[in-house]
Structures are given as C-alpha cells and as structure tokens.
C-alpha cells in the first residue's frame, strides 16, 4: 500500500505525516501526531467527539481523510488553551459549571462551542442547543454545557 506524504498546519505548527489514503484525519491526529484529545465516539459523523476545525470550518475529523489535510490549517482541542497553559474561557467555565462528567464528549463540545462563539458572540439558548445538536453527551444532560457556553460567551463579550 503506497502511503501519501502530507504537509499541514496543526494548531499553528507545521506537521508532516505519511498516510494510507483510507486513514481518517481523526486516526492521523491520534495515532501519528499524538493528539489524542479528539475522541472517536462513533466514527460515522454522529457524535461530534472528533470535532476539529479545518480552515476554520467545524467538521467531524472522522469524516475527513488524512490526505485531505494537505495544505490546510487544522485546529484541535490541544490548541485551545494558550501556549502558556492558561485555559480558554470556555474551558474554565466548563470546569466552574461542572459541565462534564466522564469528559469523553468534552473536547468535541469545546471545539464546537468555540466555533459557534466565533461567528455568534451572543447566542440564545436555542441557538446553542441546535449548534451543539451533533455533539452527543451521555452524562451531563446538556443543561450545564449550555449554561457554561452562555457564561463563557458573556465573559468573552466583556459582559460578565
């Protein structure tokens, strides 16, 4: 099987890898680049645990091939806190509101919520719930997630 050489940018840094063309971006991130924050809940685009941004667009990395990352800019949960290690407001608010239990869905939810706030800094509860409808959580019942997102949004708007 011929592997393909791919050069891409992940969380601001150049990354290179060799990939079998059948391999998903999620597998590449986890198995080759050691970025295990993105999770595989389903592998079929249903759960959102593998959410990443590709060129700024929120996608399920299990539905993207590794070869498609060529020349793209990828952002994952590992790039969310700033390089000094200070948590992103969403991450802090998730802890404050106890918006996670097992944490399996959390990286995907955080990446998706960040993408929402980038285009809608003041979303309603309904907008948050629809935006995150593709992020399944089997623990929290979603309520605390929604409140944490609202609180983080308020802080980021400078309203808190």
């Amino acid at each position: 099987m011929t592997k393909i050489h791919v050069t891409t940018t992940v969380n601001g840094e150049t990354a290179e890898f060799l990939t079998d063309p059948r391999e998903t971006l999620l597998d590449v991130l986890r198995n080759q680049l050691g970025l295990t924050g993105s999770k595989e809940g389903c592998g079929t685009g249903d759960c959102g645990a593998c959410s990443v941004l590709v060129d700024g667009v929120l996608v399920s990395s299990c539905l993207v091939l590794g070869v498609e990352a060529q020349g793209k800019t990828i952002e994952t949960i590992e790039g969310m806190a700033d390089p000094k290690g200070d948590l992103h407001p969403l991450q802090r608010k998730f802890i404050e509101h106890a918006a996670l239990q097992c944490g399996f869905c959390t990286p995907g939810v955080l990446v998706a919520a960040k993408a929402l706030l980038a285009q809608n800094p003041d979303p309603t509860e309904t907008e948050i719930r629809y935006w995150l409808a593709g992020n399944l959580c089997r623990c929290t019942g979603y309520d605390k997630i929604v409140r944490a997102v609202q609180d983080a949004a308020a802080e980021m708007r400078g309203a808190a």
């Binding site: 063309p21 249903d46 590709v54 667009v57 539905l63 070869v67 998706a112 995150l132 409808a133």
Partner: protein, 288 residues
C-alpha cells in the same frame, strides 16, 4: 485504494473510465467515508473533486438562476444571503442534513447521489425544477434532478458519470418555496416524511405549483396532481384539501421502525398543507 486529487472534471472522468475496479467520487465525503468504514464499498480509486476550480462556487447566472458547484457545503449554502432569499425552501432542506459538523462538508450533490428516498435536500430541488450537469465518458448532459433518483441507494447516472453542478432556475417574481420534514425529535434524524412546495402567485392566485415528496416511495418524487390542485386557487380550504388528497394518493411508503405505511401517508398530507402555506406566505413577501 488509490486517492486522486484531480484538478478538472475531465481528469476525474478519465480516471474513472480507466479504473478497473470500484470508483467513488468524493465531494463532501459524509456518506462515502461512512460506507468505507462500514466496508460497504471498497473503492479501488477514490477521486476527490474538491480541488477542481469552481466546485465551491455559487454563481448567479445572467437569467437570474443559480449554479451551485458540486462541492458547495450546506453551511456555505446557508451563508449565501441572496440564494437564501431566492430559494429558502431548497436551502432549508439542505440545512436539515446532519449536524453542524456534517454541514461543514455535506453537499447537495452528494445528498442527491447517495440516492436515499429520505434525502432532505432533494424534494426542494425537485419542486424547484432544478437540473444537474453530468459529465461522463460520453460527454456532458444536463437533466432534471427529478430524473436522477432511481431507487434506494441508486441513481440514473451512467457508469463513470459525475455531477459537475446543480442549477436552479430563476425564482422570478411572486414566488416562494418551503420544505418540511417529520422526525420524532427536533434535530439529527432522518425524515419519516418530507415535503417541498414551490409556487408562484398572480395576485392572490397560485399560477404555478410543484410539490415533491420524500421518504414515501422508493425515490423522492414530483407529484404533479398535488401541484395541479393548487393552481388557480387562493389556497382556500378546498384547494388545500385537494392538495392533501393528491399528496396522500401518490404515497407508496414502506413500514419500518421510523413509521408505518398509514402514518407516513397521513403525515404526507399534513406536511403538504403546511409547506404550501409557508411557500404562499413567502411568495407574498412575508417572512415565514
């Protein structure tokens, strides 16, 4: 599996024609990657269309209609204000497909070629009278979207053919369209029934109407009798009742875990009525 990131549709067609095994085209990939993983298809050649010039373009033609490239995502359709104004029903159908994450990748073309009778974006295209340009080993042809679905998971594309773009006619004056689906929850589900209505008014009267149903037959289908029931009316109760009767009469659904035959037929009428009212309000310039 060989992966080909082609730069033209001609190259895509040439590679498909020379492949000795199974070929798949990659537009959004939200169905193809799931099929790969499940082992339902094992392509020898996977042809990625996303690097072709223009496949991500939404273009208004000189006649006022629209050309939508094969790799335009649902999110990109929804972000296009002028297209949403002209064809809100087409866009809302596509926007119902999957999650925000899926919307970042999924395409009208892919939803059409996947061949699901429950595809949410297809009834809107059929009601709108959309066409598609296909390119294949024998050249290029343009056919109505309504003629593409053949059965569950099957299309009338010839071997090696691929859709380049989807075309919407000019919406013109006093026109409106709408798509509604029934699912047992509010998001992230597959249509039990879907219905699109596209109509034009002359004053208060309907001068043209097209009605398409999804998930109630082996393919999405146009129901000419349902459209005819509205023409000439002001969408009074008699016309709406005739619409409901015609829509239900066209249904040939199956019973499965999502709904029974009886339920699907019942709901098809309900959705046709509601979608017609929304399309009418939109044609009147009301935001519904």
């Amino acid at each position: 599996m060989r992966y080909h990131a082609v730069e033209s549709f001609e190259d895509a067609v040439r590679i498909a024609a020379s492949s000795r095994g199974t070929t798949r085209f990659l537009a959004g990939g939200t169905d193809v990657l799931v099929q790969l993983r499940a082992g339902l298809v094992q392509p020898d050649d996977l042809i990625d269309l996303k690097k072709i010039n223009g496949v991500k373009d939404i273009t208004r033609r000189a006649d006022g209609g629209w050309d939508i490239g094969a790799a335009v995502s649902g999110a990109e359709l929804g972000a296009h204000a002028a297209l949403c104004r002209d064809w809100p029903g087409v866009v809302e159908g596509m926007r119902l497909v999957g999650s925000t994450q899926v919307q970042g990748r999924a395409t009208l073309t892919g939803n059409l070629c996947n061949g699901s009778p429950a595809a949410d974006s297809v009834p809107g295209l059929v009601a709108a009278g959309a066409t598609a340009t296909l390119i294949g080993p024998e050249g290029t042809r343009t056919i109505p979207v309504a003629e593409i679905p053949k059965g569950p998971g099957r299309t009338n594309l010839k071997p090696g053919e691929v859709i380049k773009a989807i075309h919407l006619p000019p919406c013109g004056a006093n026109a409106g369209d709408a798509y509604l689906r029934f699912i047992p929850r509010t998001e992230m589900d597959i249509a039990v029934v879907g219905c699109a209505v596209s109509l034009r008014l002359d004053g208060d009267r309907v001068s043209e109407a097209r009605v398409a149903l999804g998930a109630v037959a082996p393919t999405v289908m146009l129901v000419p009798e349902a459209g005819a029931a509205l023409v000439g009316s002001t969408l009074d109760d008699a016309a709406l009742d005739a619409l409901v009767t015609a829509a239900r009469a066209a249904c040939r659904p199956i019973s499965d875990k999502r709904g029974t035959v009886e339920f699907r037929i019942e709901v098809a009428g309900v959705l046709a009525r509601r979608a017609a009212l929304i399309a009418y309000a939109r044609a009147k310039g009301e935001t519904a």
